[in-house]
Symmetry: D3
Subunit: 220 residues, 6 copies
């Protein structure tokens, strides 16, 4: 019997990955079933889909971002909403994020490998921008009610330059846009020292300082 | 020379249509050029693209929805933001809308043939819902800060059931989602009377009443 | 053992949904296996895929629409052919329908959220048309051997205006185009009465009449 | 002025090619404009698009295949319907073909590089089949009212084995599926003789015979 | 218990097929798990996916084509690299092949139904070409360091015309491009004799000879 | 007449951008026409498409990377091959690059927003790797004949750690994958100083040093 369980775990692992694409949907929706959601394996937590007749209105409504999330050292609190926390968007090709910035808080340079972002300033004054493939920066302060677009896969960033907290609502055209935050992706991931020294023109000592700063073990 | 102009108009007409798809982009962005935007023809107003070195930060920022638009008889004011008014999103596969609803105002049943919608209630209490392919309705009142998803191509609707005006920010995973508003698409478009009578079980007189109500000539 | 069965049901539920997309295929074909097809669960009937070496010629041929299906009150008999009944088209991005119309029979206004339709009149005279996003109707009678296209996601309709039964063959560029029939989606789904009254300009009594007419419990 | 014309021709040539893709549409439809259709250049005949307000019902209806086309030596008459002859399907991701086969007539082995085909036998008895990537053939005789699917990019073929003419309606999930007919693509295209001898195990003389048989200059 | 196993096998069969598409990825990667890889069934060998935290560097590196593979009678040795042998490319939309050709060796006319090929001559002189939809051949000898492109779905071929062995590296924009080799697909698959005689203008005896030459039972 | 020219330039600018997508092709190929290629405008150099009957074999063969390109200060010489230099790949969804690395030369951390890369080491020993969305690095030295895959949109890097020059052939599943080189995108693009100080934990002086180092005006 235990080998059978093992095989099932394998299936679960596979299924999770199979759900990893943003093609045109071929059904109305596909809601992962929270009842079965507590199936924990050494590898994955699985959220199988509901039968459509068991779908409820609440499956299509997300109520978990009425207030700001927890703030990091950078002064940013981000609530990323993907199918894991909002079942109703599964397979529909969209997701979103609420980001709150303390006064002076930043959203460091990062990019989303799989989506364009529409960034709507719900409250506050936010220096916002992105860099294109020719290393040109497009950035300025935008105010409440304004919207900036960050084209797919390009590095972008934000900073609250107002005198009050800021709130941003960002939406994506992928259910899992992914994210690479440059400082930690570069200096906190373990890329070869010599290569980083040459790439950034930094001394071994400087690279060491950067490494310690972005060491994932020392970060929350 | 005039035949030459004619040919150019033909080209313009074609170009407009050629821009009508949401594939993966193969460049960072493509901003229609507002300088040349005033090229009006009998057929089209054309907005050719800028050279990327002439793109400016403002091309990627939309400031035209800080306040509500003009309200219709239904008590709704919608500002649809597509590449015509926000050049920076051209070819990036997304667009968005600001909708304000007076107390009791409605967004009548409609659907977007080419996009899923993420609907974020920025202010107010809004009865929101959609109907799936099996004619089940998923609807309830959602409050400020809540989000509802309307799967691609399914009929949905909204009504301000609160005591104050409501504001909604909707985003789409197409640069041109399209929209068919059911009452006017069915009764204001000129579909054969007999067919409508049979489809809805209405008398010729009742159909006539509906026709006059949704006659496009008598609507703003 | 029973918990094991439960887990399997979960897997089945998930698998069904995972098959819900129309991307480019990455294999020749994928035929659901009718041998295992009788696996009925409380949630789904599952048709797992055959090994390609077990595929047979008959898997790629559909013989179930040589004659008309059962007629509804509207005078239409539709046989929708999707991967559930025709395994061979699974993952190939197409499906089709045979619709027969009695004299005077109608196919009421409806749309397919996920496909364009090519409608080929095999027999008879059929008033056919669709409505575009600007509420213009494109409709006229077409005869045997003529073809009309209904663009993706737009409302369309048909009525047999000839003196003999009519037969139509419609093909779709999705294996599951979906369908929303306007009268029942709007009046038979349970959308809030007040919203419908405002949207259509009907009295509460009139809405009540429409509701009873399209009550799913009283329909076949 | 003549250099200006040259530039326009260049534009036309480019535009034709730009229309060469099957992505999701981002508008309702895009009808090439037959009024301007007579623009003939040394390179192309251009059919620019209509303004949507000038589209007519007839643009969406194809009436040119009520009767069979002209028969070739192989006993087949095919009418391929693409946006050039049926403007309304432009950008909608579908096209179709009517093929008539004389008694004993064949549709030689061929494949469509860019589409799956749904083949509906409207009349007659047709031996139909395809070959998969492992060189297995799936073929048998299908009768009036039956449908066979030919998966995208796989070699398929048909032969009228009945005692009466046969008519087939094939639909594709691309507006331009393309076609390579094996005998002429291999022996009528000018592939190096030595390579063909080795590939098929034929003598130089036999290859010469095949070449003459499928020489494009001697074929209609 | 044994029926349970049967059901699991069915699931495995389905899972394999579910992985058969090249949409945009919605995760960084999805590596089939070699630990569980030895799950052999009567139908399939299954390679479930790893948890991303268990992915290793070696999963993303392929070392199995440092030397040529085994040569066939045609003088070609091809190592096709797809997710089965190189787990790291699973879901990423690419795959590749190393082909070595003896002096005079050929890669017979074939096509890939689901991919364009970029063919890079790493060593040697190779006559290379393809045929387009109008039966035009594009072919000539290319040398070390040159690259030829074979558009998706079009018949192409290669022959080593140099005095030394040749090595080619081909890459594809699908994780499973598929392949149909014309001689064996046509003459070794069991297509009806009469149809082949008519299609190629060959006698029954000649067809018989071709059949025996490409009989899959007599080939390795 | 001059205003006419202006309009044409506008058209050219638009056309360039219209070619910016990687959907499924709907024709065999589309070769920009080098004859007209010398049309230089203040904005663009335009390469309109050839009529398919004018395509030549050479259009589909690239001969410009038989030897290494020019080396930068980092010890890398990259020849990026896209439709501008290799017309034949236009619209086919692939492109490629030859990169040569001096002993100790590096390809600094960068990513391609629109493509996965298959990286084939043709010669030498190359430390190669990428970072995933969780900041894990996957890297080691790979040798001649080995292949590494860099998933779409993820930061990757290379360094020649051998004792001889190295040559790499990289292929992409987009005709224009784009590239952002981290050091210059971050420090050479003009992102706000305060934001960079906070993001990287650097002093204003250190940021100033980095800026000067990656100032685009001082780089080749």
């Amino acid at each position: 019997m235990s080998s059978n369980i093992t095989i099932l775990l394998v299936i679960f692992a596979l299924l999770c990955d199979v759900m990893a694409s943003d093609p045109d949907p071929i059904q109305d929706y596909c809601i992962p079933n929270p009842k079965f959601g507590a199936i924990r394996t050494p590898l994955h937590t699985i959220l199988p889909c509901k039968n459509s007749s068991e779908a409820t209105t609440d499956d299509f409504i997300f109520s978990g971002m009425k207030v700001a999330g927890n703030f990091s050292d950078m002064g940013i609190a981000a609530i990323s909403v993907n199918p894991t926390v909002f079942p109703g968007i599964n397979t529909l090709g969209m997701s979103f994020v609420r980001a709150d910035l303390k006064v002076g808080g930043i959203n460091p340079p990062h990019f989303h490998p799989r989506a364009t972002e529409i960034s709507h300033v719900v409250k506050g004054s936010v220096y916002s921008g992105f860099v294109d493939s020719t290393n040109r920066v497009f950035a300025r302060v935008i105010e409440q009610g304004e919207v900036m677009v960050f084209p797919r896969g390009l590095v972008h960033f934000q900073m609250n330059v107002g005198k009050k907290p800021a709130t941003i609502f960002g939406s994506f055209n992928s259910q899992n846009p992914g994210s690479q935050r440059i400082p930690s992706a570069i200096f906190g991931s373990g890329i070869n020292d010599e290569l980083l020294e040459k790439a950034f023109g930094l001394s071994p000592k400087q690279i060491g300082t950067m490494r310690r700063r972005f060491d994932p073990k020392s970060m929350s």
